[in-house]
Subunit: 396 residues, 2 copies
């Protein structure tokens, strides 16, 4: 099969001599973005706490939405009728949707999302009823209605939504499954991948580009099979997904292993990773884009990302509800030029949290968005200047 | 007593020939505002759902905060230490604080706020323990601690907060009290008013201007006594407060009665009134500024103010959760140029409410703020052009 992407382009403008790190320009029908880039999660077609204009003002290049949530409410057909997701949510820049697979399986098994990240506190009921060659049957978390998600339906909904980047539908295996299940699942995902390509090609107008997903769990031989599959297929780019191991060392190994096997001319996205340290590790392995709810979710829980982190607590953010900020007249981050840092003191943000004032959500969201965009810009510049390790020291 | 306000000025630039309506410029140490103007409520030192930059961008001239809430949390001393309320909340324009009286009594009697508006559903416990010549003893709604609010303390806290406009501490009588209580209370409020003036004068640096409050309930003879009192005292401006009656007709009568008695060179604020129809009625009687939580609270409950109102339902706003907006591609108001109307359809805002997405609060807040500022600008222009009645027809 051959698929052309005439309105998309990935130009690698600079490569590191000492690692796989690279700077590029990813062109879409809704404008270009510089990579490495961070993709913010507008899960249900809205960034919680920030308007499209505010996202743009903080330097955001690209956002994503979730097919799973949007197919259940308000539905692909309504969004298509409203002119597509870009117009519906008022975002005119590059946009990605995932396939719905991660949410079906993570919400469906009740604990996959947590398990993938090695943390089993989630006790929600299992809503996945059947996984077959055809697809997945599950119950809507909204109204209990029976839903079937197949590769064809995922691509169809993503066509209705109309983002620039579309992702294939796959089975996302949790951490606890064994190698035998992972291998069977991998081959199922590959057959689904081919069906996604066929469905995608059928209606292809050149306005969307398809990403393949790499599964294979923590097993090098399976990751190799996955890499060979996606290299052979006419995907525009790759998304590295699935379980990346039980700790950071293993995650870095799995990513390194996978990246060594991929066609280096295509853009690579690392799914669901958004920590500062992890982004540097991914960039060093050649990852071009990242996404994670972390920066915006952290904001809603009163956390602000700080360059260099909170050394006392050994973490990448400070928690504004902490009593020590009550009289702190400094901005969140003296090196940050975002609206929040130009306007408010830590003392004010601390007060807003204590007073349950909703404005703090917006303020911290804007800061964390600006932080991530500034981080990625600094990373790009550091790759150009061949001093990524020094830049890492300043941020981690 | 004589008090000068060298850094404040109220210039009436245009008077209507056919009513008491007037256009003016109110100058403060933090800039000037054009009147008639609407004052938005940043109750606890924050507009819920909009940053100072967003408020400015929607044309906001002035906001207010509540002494009662801020004295309890985070306290006047902390805000003073942080450079005052302007700096603390990041608002550099004109700013007013009320005296705390309305909240002490409305929250304290459990139902006064509702009663003043003739609506007795509030069943909160009474926290006012004692009203004496000295002041009011009440329990903090936050931690149950015993608090005493006196005229002196109210002015002291307002000095710590540092707004441009300060309001005297008074007893705010509910609707149900009889004339005899209203009369006794009026005289108590006047004695408190004199103590406020004395306390204010003691530390007066010219950076703040004091408003007197007019009480007197629905009784013309008591309103007359109140008017004579404030006219004689060196207040910079007046605030019309207390019970304005059991229906709109009575409210308009009370306001008209009061306005006919006041020194016409001083600015007059009408406390807690924010409906479109009521604002036109107030402007016709010579009111210069209004405040109310209505526009921003309505936004948080999914309501959008619309020029001309919702004729079908006979109200001044539409309710976005209504099913009829599910496929409505129009902006909230086709005549509005706010960020929300430029960016989103009613269908999207309807969807956000149904999906419990917090962005809708911000979107509707910005629209309602823009609406009120546009309304007041239209009113000012209509007074200049002597066509206020025609303008009223377009909005009500």
């Amino acid at each position: 099969m051959q698929i052309e992407y005439p309105n998309f382009k990935f130009d690698i403008t600079q490569k590191s001599d000492t690692s796989r790190a690279r700077v590029g320009v990813l062109s879409t029908p809704h404008g270009a973005l510089e990579t490495p880039a961070f993709i913010f999660c507008a899960t249900k077609a809205a960034i919680k706490g920030a308007s499209p204009a505010q996202m743009k003002a903080q330097g955001t290049q690209i956002i994503l939405s979730n097919t799973y949530h949007l197919m259940l409410n308000p539905g692909g057909a309504l969004i298509e009728k409203m002119g597509g997701l870009h117009q519906f949510m008022g975002w005119d820049g590059p946009l990605l949707t995932d396939s719905g697979g991660f949410q079906v399986f993570s919400m469906g098994h009740g604990s996959v999302s947590q398990e993938i990240k090695k943390n089993s506190r989630d006790t929600r009921p299992k809503t996945v009823l059947k996984i077959s060659e055809e697809g997945v049957t599950f119950r809507s978390y909204l109204d209990g209605s029976l839903q079937v998600l197949t590769p064809e339906r995922s691509i169809e909904v993503q066509r209705q939504l109309g983002p620039d980047f579309v992702v294939v539908f796959d089975e996302c295996t949790p951490y606890h499954v064994d190698k035998s299940y992972t291998e069977k699942s991998l081959h199922l995902s590959h057959r689904w991948g081919v069906r996604c390509l066929q469905e995608f090609e059928k209606h292809h107008t050149g306005r969307q580009a398809l990403y393949g997903i790499l599964q294979g769990g923590v097993y090098p031989d399976l990751r190799k099979i996955a890499a060979e599959f996606v290299n052979e297929q006419p995907f525009f780019g790759y998304a590295v997904g699935g379980s990346l191991g039980e700790n950071k060392a293993q995650m870095y190994d799995v990513v390194a292993e996978t990246m060594s096997l991929l066609n280096p001319t295509r853009p690579v996205h690392l799914l669901g990773i958004g920590g500062v340290k992890d982004i540097f590790a991914g960039v060093l392995q050649g990852i071009d884009t990242f996404d994670c709810v972390h920066p915006t979710r952290l904001a809603r829980h009163g956390g602000a990302l700080i360059k260099g982190g909170d050394k006392e607590k050994n973490r990448e953010h400070i928690v504004l509800s902490n009593q020590k900020f009550q009289y702190d007249e400094r901005p969140l981050d003296e090196t940050c030029a975002c609206e929040t840092c130009k306007t408010y003191s830590r003392a004010y943000l601390h007060y807003l949290i204590r007073a349950s004032e909703s404005l703090v959500m917006q303020a911290l969201t804007l800061h964390n968005v600006a932080f991530m965009n500034r981080l990625m810009a600094a990373i790009r510049q550091a790759i150009r200047d061949d001093r990524l390790e020094a830049e890492r020291e300043a941020w981690v």
